[in-house]
Amino acid sequence: AVVSTQSTGRCSDCFGGTSNQPLHTNDYTNIKISHVEGIKDHFLSVSWDDGHSGIVPISETGAYGNGYKRTPSSRYYDLSLRKNAVQTFWDTPTNEVIKRFEYSDVADDSDKLKEFLAHFMQYGLAFLFNTPQEPDDLLKILYNLKITPYWDNMFGILSKVSFQRDPTNQAFNNQRLAAHTDMPYYTQTPSAYFFHCVANELDGGESFWSDTFSAVKHIRDTEPDKYDLLTTILVPFRQYPKEWHMAGRYPTVELMGDDIYRVRDCCFVIDTYQFLRDYDAETRERWWQAYRTLRLLMEDPARTVQQKLGAGDLVLIDNWRVQHGRNAFSVGGAGGRRAMEVAYIEWSHVQNRLLKME
């Protein structure tokens, strides 16, 4: 308690008024409170035996910002920390899961935008419709929503997903993409992304999404041995097209305390050859059985939201939780195109937009 009170000091000698950061980082181990003056507003006046007198906050209002800063709602705060207690896991696409938000509403009203972001954090995805539909409009949308900066990555700030011959990534062909999370080979796999439909005029190409947290919870409740494997065995991933090479190994499911925190699962970049060198056959056999159980759940059509996106539709997806995929689509023929644009964003930047005061 002694160390805590000194470390929470809010007088102007101890706490930067323009930075909201402590000005000193001393070892206060042997310092004790010598006198308590009393309470005024949000602070307790205290003196310590090192001769210092100052104030200690007794409320959140006092603790944060040198005064009376309005704090975000606890629900928003907990959602932004990805606490399972305020998230809604879904195993069927209810009306609430697929609720659509009007772009002009959220762009013009900060409270409605926060509601949109809170919905995203609660369900792992959220739909916006009637957004601008021209190429590169996604960056303007993010600018208007004040959800920046974006995450620059190997595909650039804005990834354009359309059919390519000789594709350097599976997203750029016209074949079916099994359910997956993006870029698991990154040490810091991107946490969220905006998926924007510019055009979707070809036959097929429906998008689908499923909630891994619901599947993982089911496994935890019914087959805990498999759950343990999914949280402890490190799966190697590797991506090495022309010009770049990324590799890493991570558990399929990561926890924060008891909460399910992050899932990485992209079956088409698992580095099976590396996996052989990391674990013995018996361990791998047990992991494959556990993984199969997860995949059966993720690939169950009854558990997915499936939609053919239209021009102007935008989906915000929690890449640490919701898997996405695509049906095959036709190319060639009389014309038409399928053009999607993707921008990734740090979780902290989405959190920032949800929590910040205007």
Partner: protein
């Protein structure tokens, strides 16, 4: 099993051999659980997921295309026949009717030299295995304080790689004689060949750190900056950090660095119970400078370990962004008391000057830092009219830096040699 193998070999002449010489040997055998290949036991499911034919591995992407919507890992498929065995591949037919080939070697799986050998030699380095790292204190060993010459580093691709590997081993790397007329992006991308993608944060992509009155961040002040890790309030801390000293004519302001991994290693040997506490109890961080519209908060334990080998993987700690008021609301007094005991011991080691490497950076000097391992700090300086202390700093994802080490040169297509099978 031998009967099945015999049947497999007989079928080779009509199905797999294609008039090529067939080797019969014991390097590939079907087993109940899968395949014994060059002494390694592969599971059926693994063999099917390792197929390297062009239907199963995109030639230009090196990822697996067109997986089925359901059963995307072919869970019930079994290897049924082994065909031709060549230096790098083995032909296989599976129970789903697919005929393809799996790799026997690094080269078969990842492509010809130099990519295969690079994968074999460097994977553990880029994965931050402690066995490949060198922990240090102060100036010991001297190698970690070595200043590399800029012209040598950029003279060749291999030299750049050697410097980056040095950086990974020590968590820090220094370069002298950086041309001060080049931008950070020109240095990193154009000259060193690192992908053009800086990590974007609430600070500018290239942040110029120069003294300010009433700073919105302690880094812009002139006071002491104790050793710290940057941006702990981020859910995902930036990993690679670059500093360029542009000018440094103030009195004081020496920089110093501390290898936190060496501290953790020492504590594992002397007070392991403290390390357990620091890795188990997450601490809240917060960054809400007034008037900036920034509100970031998250929780992290101080040290994270890699689960497979138990390696020290990441340290996250910054005393002036830790949210102690929130900490007092998260845990009971007993838990907090235990944590403070462990933390103050740890912090005492970090703050021991005998562990620091200290230097006053001069203009044109460059530092690359592992922000998940090495603390940086600054001594107080006094600023007078006409003096400057200016540092440019940027962040980058680990994989963008590591890709520079692992990949072949830009434009160099590395296709698998399946046509030679």
């Amino acid at each position: 099993m031998l009967g099945r193998l015999g049947a497999s070999l007989n079928a080779l002449s009509t199905r797999f051999s294609k008039n090529l010489q067939v080797r019969t040997n014991s390097t590939a055998q079907l087993t109940e659980s899968g395949m014994l290949l060059d002494g390694r036991q592969l599971l059926h499911v693994e063999t099917r997921n390792m197929c390297r034919c062009e239907k199963c591995l995109g030639k230009h992407s090196h990822t697996r295309p067109n997986l089925p919507f359901q059963g995307s890992n072919f869970p019930d498929v079994r290897a049924e026949e082994i065909g031709r065995v060549s230096d790098n591949f083995v032909s296989v037919r599976w129970s789903d009717g697919h005929e393809g080939l799996i790799a026997r070697t690094f080269r078969g799986d990842y492509g010809p030299e130099p990519l295969a050998s690079r994968v074999e030699n460097l994977t553990d380095i880029i994965r931050r295995r402690n066995s490949e790292q060198i922990f240090w204190t102060g100036s010991n060993p001297e190698e970690q304080t070595k200043f590399w010459d800029w012209n040598w580093v950029v003279e060749s691709s291999d030299n750049t790689r050697e410097f980056l590997i040095h950086y990974i081993r020590y968590g820090i790397g220094f370069i002298k004689n950086i041309p001060t007329d080049l931008s950070m992006e020109e240095i990193l991308h154009d000259k060193m060949g690192i992908v053009r993608a800086l990590r974007k944060t609430v600070f500018p992509d290239v942040d110029i750190v120069r003294y300010k009155n009433n700073p919105t961040n302690s880094g812009y002040g002139s006071g002491v900056l104790p050793g710290h890790i940057d941006l702990c309030y981020y859910n995902q801390l930036p990993h690679v950090q670059y500093f360029i000293s542009l000018e440094n004519t103030v009195d004081g302001g020496e920089s110093f660095w501390v290898d936190a991994f060496s501290v953790i290693k020492e504590m594992q040997e002397t007070v392991p119970e403290y390390v357990e506490v620091l890795s188990r109890i997450p601490v809240p961080y917060r960054y809400t400078p007034p008037g900036t519209g920034t509100f970031q908060t998250t929780i992290h334990p101080i040290v994270n370990f890699e689960k497979l080998h138990g390696d020290i993987y990441q340290v996250i700690e910054n005393p002036w962004n830790s949210d102690i008021p929130m900490f007092t609301r998260m845990y009971p007094e007993e838990t907090r008391s235990t944590w403070w005991e462990a933390y103050l011991h740890y912090r005492g080691l970090i703050e021991d000057p005998a562990r620091w490497y200290e230097r006053k950076l001069l203009g044109g000097e460059f530092v690359v830092l592992d922000n998940w391992r090495v603390y940086h700090g600054r001594k107080e300086f006094t600023w007078k009219e006409g003096q400057e202390r200016v540092v440019a700093t940027s962040y980058m994802d680990w994989n963008h830096m590591a890709s520079r080490i692992m990949s072949t040169e830009v434009g160099d297509h590395v296709f698998l040699e399946i046509d030679q099978h």
